[in-house]
Amino acid sequence: MRMVRDGLSWSGHERNCAFLNHGGTFTAISGVSGLDFDDDGRSQVFVDWDGDGDLDCWNANRTGPRLRFLRNDLPAGGARGFCSLELRGTRSNRDAIGARVELELEDGSRSVQSVQAGSGFLSQSSRILHFGLGAEGIRAVRVRWPGGEREAFSGVSPGGRYLLVEGTGRAQVRAARPRALALAPSPPEPPRASDAARIVLPLPVELPRLEARTFDGDPLEIPQGKRPLLINFWASWCAPCVAELGSFTRAQDQLQGRLDILALSVDGLGADAGEPADAQRILEGLDFPFATGVATVDLLERLEVLQETLFDRRVPFVVPFSLLIDPDSRLAVIVRGPLAVEALLESASLCAEPDGERLARSLPFPGSWALEPLQNGGLSQALSEGFRERFPDEAARYLLAALEEMESEKARRTSEGESLRGLSARELSLRSDLAGLYSGMGELARSVEQYERVIDLQPLNPKALKNQGLVLASLGDFERAALNFERVLRIDERDPSAHSAYGNLLLLMRKPERARQRFARALELDPDTADAHAGMGRALGALGRYAPARAAFLRALELDPGDEATRASLATLERLQQRAKERR
């Protein structure tokens, strides 16, 4: 999936297939059918759209064009016949879904079709039944309505369209409509793909840490203030970038006072030619009136993660590139490619609008939401997931932001008298995440604090108690950790991992006998846990029972040969055994 997001194909360029049925065997006619487009085809529906007696086709695709109308050009008249039957239930459901029609033809053959609603993939074709007849006439029409009641219909002839109403026994003729059709072969021409875009975010996004420097290499304070800020990324070797800086310079009277600009050069950061000094010369030549500096690799990487998290499709970072930051230091607009001054001013004015307006402004077309997205801090949580692997510090900040958003949602609901349903589950998941993240970052005290909040919300949460116990142990607060494990085991005495963890703690507390009991219980519950065997080895070793300790270590290594700590313990044990033997 990652590679697809980056722009590789996967089973791409595959053409749609059609198989001609002749007498119950099939021949591939994909090419000559004219249906074999290499769009990423998804849904496909059939309907006699133009009313000329054959089935036309609509396709929905992933690639552009998203829709195709494919007209069936079967020669009209000739020997070929058809009839079209619409069914209407009276006792049955009115759409007659599930009714089955059997046509008996003059040559004794029969054709059977059912009225369906939903077939194929995400597709509903016309529920008007279309029967091809070849050259045959119709001898009989029999309908089996849902439930099994059978009814014969008279009055159906080749070439006609009919309505068959349940219980009437006689087909009603649908009058032919004289239609002046305006359809002609006209293959669509999808536009050339371009990455240039001005993207208004559906909600302002808390910025990741943006580390920039002055041209002298000193840390650069990103201005934060009352006005929107445009951070423009550019390079000395990029002509459109230089032109863009020129246009900002010429428009300075219009721009100043309404927004700030910080132009960050990326010279020297990539493989391209160009150095910060080149950028500096250009800025001097332009007499550029706004703030300037140089970007850092760290900054670009964080922006990359941010965009990867927000968008399914990854677009390479290309200058010029701009970020519009609102006065609350949140990202409001991303611009890929050059930005005209008018568009810049329009974007800046957007920053003054309330957050609730952004979603509608971010969309290319008007429309209605059944359930508005991005409620309850979901965006910050998603960003935290996106940053977790490469920038845990950032991930923690986004989780804090999500918690803040949740708190304000709680306040809003409380003041408006709405139900708080779902919020505490949400807080629980956010705080658990945060606690885990802090412990991974070595921020142990903070981790303990978050686990504490989780446990407040859900006092019988064994996972949180256990994890907090482990973090407390790492902090050296053995007594509190022990209380946690006692609680965990009161909640679920049959959890072997809790016994093992507690056993490890007891070892740290120099209580090897009690530790041994925990490991023994863990192994009783699950005899094949390497951890418990290793712990058992340490406990027994600490108790001076070297032989069974050795056996336990060996069993642990058998289960997990890569456990270096146990291997080291075993070596220590063997040294001790040796020494004891010598002493004897």
Binding site: H13, S30, Q44, C57, G64, F69, F82, P191, D312
Partner: protein, 604 residues
Amino acid sequence: MSPLYPRPLLLCAALSLLPGFLDAQDQGASSTQGLASELTDKFDPSKDTFETEVLNERAGNVLKEIAHGFELPHPIDGDRFRAFLDPGFRCDPLVRSEVEVVFEDDSFTVTRSSRPETPDAQRLQGAEGFAEGLGRLFGRWEGTNHVRSKLKLWRIEQIDAGFETEVLVQILAQAEGRAAQHSASWHCTWSLPAAGDPLPRLIDVRIEDVEEVVSRAGSTLFSDCTASVLGKTGPYPSQVLPGINHWTARLSNQIGMQMFGHHGLAVGDADGDGLEDLYVCDGGGLPNRLYLQQEDGTVVERARQLGLDWLDLSTSALWLDLDQDGDQDLVVSTLARLLICVNEGSTGFRLAGSFRAVTEPYSLAAADYDLDGDLDLFLCGYGAGAEGTEGPHRGLGDSAVSPVPYHDANNGGANALLRNDGDFEFVDVTDPVGLGQNNSRFSFAAAWEDFDDDGDPDLYVANDFGRNNLYENRGGKFVDIAEEAAVQDIASGMSVAWGDYDRDGRMDCYVSNMFSAAGNRVTYQRRFAESSSEDTIDKVQRMARGNTLFHNAGDGTFHDVSEEAGVTMGRWAWSSGFADLNNDGWQDLVVTNGYFTNEDSGDL
């Protein structure tokens, strides 16, 4: 005090457990991924797990060059092929003298020939012979001005001093007002590339199962009239023409704009004017569209005016008369909610209700399962979603839980049957009616049909990563009889359609799956066999085979007739359906294809 208390050792050892322990606690969901990725890796040709995949890539390059040669103006110079052909190259004639006409009507003539033993003297020899054979092949299609060809390598086996491949050959030659399609299987023998030479050489080609279709009227049966129907609508340039890739780079996945493009179509007469209309689902942030047909066959777009312009990620929709009042209401399956939209006539549609039915919803299918005179809804659910999450920020297909085991996954999302209780009230009756049985698969699509002719609708459900369901309706309760009926079709089920393909009066069933050339190549390798159990090999090979046609035997069971009927090769199939394209009374089959096409040249 015991001498084993040298504090540093024990402290470090105990502490060294902590990070791992924490990880294991916090990331339980991801631990299931190992097995699935192990199996999927075996499908992934970009990982050179097997030597033959390297050969495949190189032979594929040769075949691409040859296919490209077909597309050049004729006559073709033999030199064009010399670099790829062994000096002793031999090939069966590309044109057969004896062919059988198996079908003929106003539209198409279909001919077939099987492989008679060709005497050596009649075989093509060397590059010149090959070029001459091609000349004869194309010479029959006079005035050809456009050729498209594809040589697909789908099986490969190493032999002494070389290797053999099975290649599917498809050539389309178009002329003004006519077209011909040539399909054949080539059994190719290759020599290994010489040292320093990247390309293997073709030694011998045996040709089997040649089938040709010549269209008699018009170069193709269908013509693309898209622009004339849609061209004047507002969304045409901005929403119809650009692909999903345009939007996934601009609209956030956080509002439901995702890369998969799983958005469906529904045909029905929305405004009751006797002309059928089209409802189009789209991704999150793009409004669904309602195209109303006009007398001249073109459309006007009216979703906003009529209250159906949903921006929520929508997968499928159905036009149904839910309240028996004679107009068509609309049900829309969005990621978070199933929407029930009531047709109120000239004032448009009213949202009568919306509820959370399944996680990751896909196809909808309606029937009156309890025969009480109104329509009930079945909605397919794919993944189970991540624990404790709700709402649009969770994606489709990005299920937090991977399918386990890959060839028989049973950890997907539940499907739902919603009983219509009148007044647009629906009640989830999935479990009470027995549809909770085998209901944790990755379901993409379902279709109702009374396959056993007892008067009530039965239900087939197509599931990705494993076996499908056939729920027999027994008086309003359901029993999964897929195994007894022999329609489990353990593969990557994408969709299902019912139709009577052999006109015996009983409803047969076509299931679309994933045909994977790579899967076919890799899973038939000896080394794959050595690394997996026989049972697993069978299952995984079966998964890569392609689509399945089940013939209804009339005794409650079905026969898999896919291979003799010739309908397995549907590529990476999505929708499939029966439609009589040429009005001859026989139900033809159509399949849509392709997963991700991007702007690169290669393919994963």
